[in-house]
Point group: C2
Chain length 109, copies 2
Amino acid sequence: MIMPFKEMTRLNKLIHEPARLAVMNALSACTVAEFLFLQELTGLTKGNLSSHLSKLEKAGYIHIDKQFVRKKIPHTTIQITPNGQSALSNYWQQFDHIRELTKKWQKKA
Amino acid sequence: MIMPFKEMTRLNKLIHEPARLAVMNALSACTVAEFLFLQELTGLTKGNLSSHLSKLEKAGYIHIDKQFVRKKIPHTTIQITPNGQSALSNYWQQFDHIRELTKKWQKKA
DNA sequence: TAATAAGGTTTATAATACAAACTAGTCTAT
DNA sequence: ATAGACTAGTTTGTATTATAAACCTTATTA
């Protein structure tokens, strides 16, 4: 019987963290999202959202575009990258697989 | 349309953390488990497992019983508590719910 | 009796999540 | 025209955390 527990401890933690999981899932359904939209969606504080976004960008999972409306007002838009999409779907695939095995293991044990 | 992203950021983090998620799921299928068995199951180092167990115990999710074989050799057994069982099943319920909503949102958006 | 092993715990450290404080510019009221 | 409040974020400080290294106690082996 294959046991899912080692796999569990090796989940992609960059994505697994709840705030980032929320952000990544939201972004995977949007072609593009604004900073404030993401903030409202997730309920995170600005500072917290900002630092999570930085981490995702550093990993190459999202692309952050800072534009200036009429060259003055900052307006940040965020997109998921192909890299980010595939990391997210890998995460879900792995998670679902683990969950299946876990359920089976529960019944056997 | 209900959006799951705020709920996501509020998942029970004590359980959500991968190492502890593994431990809790393993324990929920065992009436009782030994320390070394858990270590092998999860692949965690002793120190790491020990500190995760302490946190789960402090939360009342597990019960740790330290016995001494022939009054000499330590032999630690671990059980999930009713409290822990219900926290775990709440976690999965919430997680599955969130996942459902997420899938629907993906399709709509 | 020195060395190694078993079964853990404690300590040290590096990374993290988070919010408070800050920045830079705009808008409004007086 | 300038004080005050607002917008859209970023940076900084802090408290918590995950992790492994070092340690402890007893038993076993050489």
